[in-house]
């Protein structure tokens, strides 16, 4: 491990999150908390069919209802083909939807939107819309969707705007393959070969604040969209595209956001309010209900993942083969890039020279998948980390020691980095900070890994069996040669700085993190930095809050920015003090000449530069283009108890070791890690979509879609293992996503350890576990 660890003055300190106190006071900071006079309200009519053509739609009666202002359907909406995925341009997702489509493709697809004086009137108007459908036989099973006789997107228009494979006539939304080395030779060299097919399930992000947007026309006749988004700049661009109005006519403002986790990297409510506000010239609000959030927002891509690997008796992995079928639902949001990440964010983790990856994404008539924290790595880790355990068992090696031996080490590379990128070829890179061995060692110690056989015996009863599992994980930090981020800062008279960033704090704490990174470079405190983020009129560009990019990428932009301003401060002080600039240093909000003891404070520079001497604005803009995507790493350890009578799996303890480079703000690192972890445990144990035979989700509420609460928690411990990433801001990498990937395979491994039954299809609910136990005892 790289021994260099950065010990900062402002970074590596848990300074209070900038918005924490105001949020804890309940200040009106979210999209819906600002009052608008004359606000109109939207309600949506959804398809009751999983696949149907709208033969007729009559909105006359709805339009006549007093208080109804307008109705949008496929007949009068924008006809621009686009993707709802809020990605960079050109988007790597298929253009396969209009705002409303004549052919509706899942239960929850949009039929019509009504805007009215009140939401009650809008809701009443929905009942007055008459629709005649021609219903078709839908496709639900993603393993049978490719080449199915039912063609979901049969309009013949859908396409990618980048040169990649696409065949809508076969329900085939994307395809990827990558080959390195010689797979056949690799399997021949193996002493043992293990293969498994696993299936993960539908799951939803469940941000506590549902999607919400408010659009209005400002005094200059421009369209302003105040919206709960992770991607304000992409939103502006895509709104201009859909509405066919000049980009300069649109301003997107991101207030505080009540969580995103990927689902708000998607334009859902935004184009609806924008269309209506532009038409009516009055403020319009559209807020999803929790039910709409489940049925019509975005979900995690369910996948079938086949993984086969070979190993020699000495522990050398000789071949790895991964085949993925991903279900994107009715539309192809993130279809290609989530698929590529299933391979690119898992396969580099272990040494292996012979690797094959084949992936296909298919359309089905089920809810639309999209970006979700983990982004494919969650799905693939389930398959890979189960097989890694099986390999270790097959050669009689401890799973922790097997992983210690095989995981990628500092200075090494993986051929996968080049072979698999973000939907296309990737970027070659070495990994220059790897704390994974230390994560494994410390985690193993905390859970008492090497005494687990004894602990199992003493803690198990006749019906309640203890077991231990572990996994290793990686992710990335930003998308190389795609993501760009920028910051702008200016000095004030009191020595404080305004820092304006496009980076999108959705609750992650990025405003605070970026203030710390900037402050570190200028010898000031984080409290001297006043942050404004994510307003397309006032802040510089940023791709947004996704791909674990903000700390790493926008953070480096803020380092660059601090360097520029440091130069300006030094130049100014040199002029004022009449001293050589290279003898000046920054210390404690002052420019100092150590030799003479002469100095000038930032506040004096601020005041003089504004009003009296060598007058100029001290301030700069700086940006950063991502050139690599250094992986954060994690090792997870779980202790579970399986009740063999009821099938109930209880996670007793969960220990994680996390390497995110320099932890810029350790408390926020823990928050990100444990938040992702608990979301992952919840998805592994209880969260699931139930569909009826018509494709309707049966449990779209928190009452019936069970996410973990305080009383469900295991005992959790997070160990931060600092490393130094040379390409990151003060050595930092990302941490947002990696820890959501662990719980499914880790708990599966622990269940296997407890009762010898291998369960590969989460969620590990009592009924599924009991069924698996029964099937196992038959064998």
């Amino acid at each position: 491990m790289n021994q260099k660890v950065y010990d900062g003055r402002v970074v590596t300190k848990s300074v209070p999150k900038k918005d924490a106190l105001s949020l804890a006071m309940g200040k009106p900071m979210y999209t819906d908390d600002k009052e608008f006079r004359n606000l109109a309200h939207v309600k949506m009519l959804y398809s009751p069919h999983a696949l149907a053509d709208i033969e007729e739609i009559d909105t006359t009666d709805a339009e006549k209802l007093q208080g109804v202002l307008s109705v949008l359907t496929h007949k009068n909406c924008s006809q621009v083909l686009h993707t709802s995925a809020g990605q960079g341009y050109p988007e790597p997702s298929p253009y396969d939807t209009r705002l409303f489509n004549r052919r509706v493709k899942y239960v929850g697809d949009r039929i019509a939107a009504v805007v009215a004086e009140t939401s009650k009137i809008a809701e009443q108007a929905l009942d007055l819309i008459k629709v005649k459908y021609k219903v078709f036989e839908p496709v639900f099973d993603h393993d049978k969707a490719m080449g199915h006789k039912t063609v979901i997107h049969n309009e013949g228009e859908a396409k990618y705007i980048i040169p990649v494979f696409y065949d809508a006539s076969k329900n085939h939304a994307s395809h990827l393959d990558a080959n390195v080395g010689d797979l056949e030779k690799g399997f021949k060299e193996a002493d043992v070969v293990v293969e498994k097919t696993v299936r993960n399930h539908y799951g939803q992000h469940c941000p506590l604040e549902p999607h919400i947007s408010i659009a209005y026309i400002d005094d200059y006749d421009r369209l302003v969209v105040r919206t709960s988004t992770q991607v304000p700049f992409h939103t502006r661009r895509i709104l201009a595209q859909i509405l066919e109005i000049p980009l300069k006519q649109i301003r997107v403002i991101k207030p505080r956001i009540g969580g995103g986790f990927g689902t708000k990297q998607e334009l859902i409510t935004d184009p609806i309010v924008a269309s209506f506000a532009w038409e009516l010239k009055r403020p319009v609000k559209y807020e999803l209900t929790r039910k709409e959030e489940f049925i019509s927002a975005r979900t995690r891509h369910p996948m079938t993942t086949y993984f086969k690997a070979g190993v020699k008796k000495d522990g050398t992995i000789t071949a790895m083969d991964m085949e993925v079928t991903s279900n994107t639902g009715a539309y192809g949001s993130h279809a290609l890039t989530v698929l590529s990440n299933t391979g690119s964010k898992t396969l580099p983790l272990y040494h292996c020279e012979n690797i094959r990856f084949v992936g296909d994404t298919v359309y089905t008539n089920l809810p639309v998948a999209g970006a979700y924290r983990g982004y494919g790595a969650t799905q693939a880790a389930l398959a890979m980390e189960i097989v890694i355990d099986d390999l270790a068992e097959a050669i009689n090696m401890d799973p922790a020691k097997f992983r210690l031996m095989n995981h990628i080490k500092e200075g090494e590379t993986s051929p996968i980095f080049k072979a698999l990128g973000e939907g296309t070829e990737g970027v070659e890179q070495t990994v220059d900070s790897v704390g994974l061995s230390e994560c494994i060692k410390q985690g193993a110690e905390r859970i008492d890994w090497y005494n687990r056989e004894e602990n199992k015996k003493t803690k198990s009863t006749k019906t309640k069996k203890r077991g231990y599992g572990m996994v290793c994980l990686m992710q990335g930090s930003s998308i190389p040669y795609v993501d760009m981020a920028a910051g702008y800062a200016k000095l004030n008279e009191d020595g404080s700085f305004n820092l304006l960033v496009g980076a999108t704090d959705i609750g992650t704490g990025s405003d605070t993190i970026l203030a710390q990174i900037f402050a570190e470079g200028l010898a000031i405190d984080a409290s001297d930095v006043l942050v404004i983020s994510s307003d397309t009129d006032t802040t510089p560009f940023d791709t947004g809050a996704y791909a674990s990019s903000t700390t790493y990428l926008t953070g480096q932009a803020c380092v660059n920015l601090a360097n520029k301003i440091k130069d300006q401060l030094t130049d100014y002080a040199a002029k004022l003090l009449n001293l050589p600039r290279d003898e000046l240093i920054l210390e404690n909000k002052t420019v100092i000449h150590k030799q003479s003891g002469k100095k000038i404070s930032f506040s004096e520079i601020g005041t003089k530069s504004y009003y009296s001497e060598h007058q100029t604005q001290i301030g700069a803009v700086a940006s950063e283009l991502s050139r690599k995507s250094p992986p954060p790493f994690a090792a997870h350890f779980a202790e579970v108890e399986v009740d063999i009578e009821t099938g109930r799996v209880k996670v007793i303890r969960y220990v994680i070791g996390v390497d995110c480079g320099t932890p810029i703000n350790p408390k926020l690192v823990i928050g990100q890690s444990e938040g992702a972890l608990v979301n992952g445990i919840s998805y592994a144990l209880s969260e699931q979509y139930f569909f009826n035979e018509k494709g309707r989700m049966l449990n779209p509420s928190f009452g019936n879609y069970k996410i973990m609460t305080t009383i469900d928690l295991p005992e959790i411990e997070t160990i931060i293992v600092p490393t130094f990433e040379p390409s990151g801001p003060w050595g930092a990498k990302s941490v947002a996503e990696v820890n959501i990937n662990g719980p499914m395979p880790c708990i599966s491994n622990a269940i296997y350890d407890a009762i010898g039954v291998r369960i590969t299809e989460p969620p590990f609910t009592p009924d599924r576990v009991l069924k698996a136990i029964k099937e196992h005892s038959k064998e």
Binding site: P16, L21, C206, L208, E209, R256, G259, G507, K667, G675
Partner: protein, 157 residues
């Protein structure tokens, strides 16, 4: 037909004109108590939690008229920037306010617990916060923050 709702909110006597079928969350938000959040509108997420007559209730499943002559505490009533409530201070200090959307409700649940039980066990804190969903943090820090705030209120820290 409208009703006149007489209710004490955060220590202030209020007379608010309401409709008989109005839900309490809608009235509170209309009156400017924006700290009352709407996360599910069906009583399951806890973001709209308020303290009503010394009990926590979900204001999205209570008629406003049911609050007649009652006492309500919302997040706006329990601390200021100059003088935050110890629970608010503990949450900030512990770094457990992420997106913040669940926090007002969670703080009110915690406050109601500590008002009635100044020295709770960890299990009692977990039980008191059980009705407040959070998707950002993983809860551990918040549970510890409530225990810490309890010690501060008891004058031990």
């Amino acid at each position: 037909m409208s009703l006149l709702l007489k209710v004490k909110i955060n220590g202030v006597e209020k007379k608010i004109e309401i409709q008989p079928n109005e839900i309490l969350i809608d009235v509170l938000r209309r009156e400017g108590y924006k700290g009352v959040k709407r996360g599910c509108n069906e009583g399951t997420c806890g973001t709209c939690t308020i303290i009503f007559n010394e009990k926590t209730v979900k204001s999205c499943i209570m008629l406003a008229a049911q609050a007649q002559n009652g006492t309500i505490t919302t997040i706006e009533g329990i601390g200021t920037h100059e003088k935050p409530h110890p629970i608010q201070e503990a949450f900030v200090e512990a770094g457990v306010v992420q997106c913040g959307f669940c926090i007002p409700g969670m703080i009110l649940s915690a406050k109601n617990l500590l008002d009635n039980n100044p020295n709770p066990t960890k299990a009692e804190v977990k039980m008191a916060l059980d009705g407040n969903l959070c998707r950002c943090t993983g809860y551990r820090g918040q549970i510890e923050a409530v225990l810490k705030a309890a010690a501060v209120i008891r004058g031990e820290k």
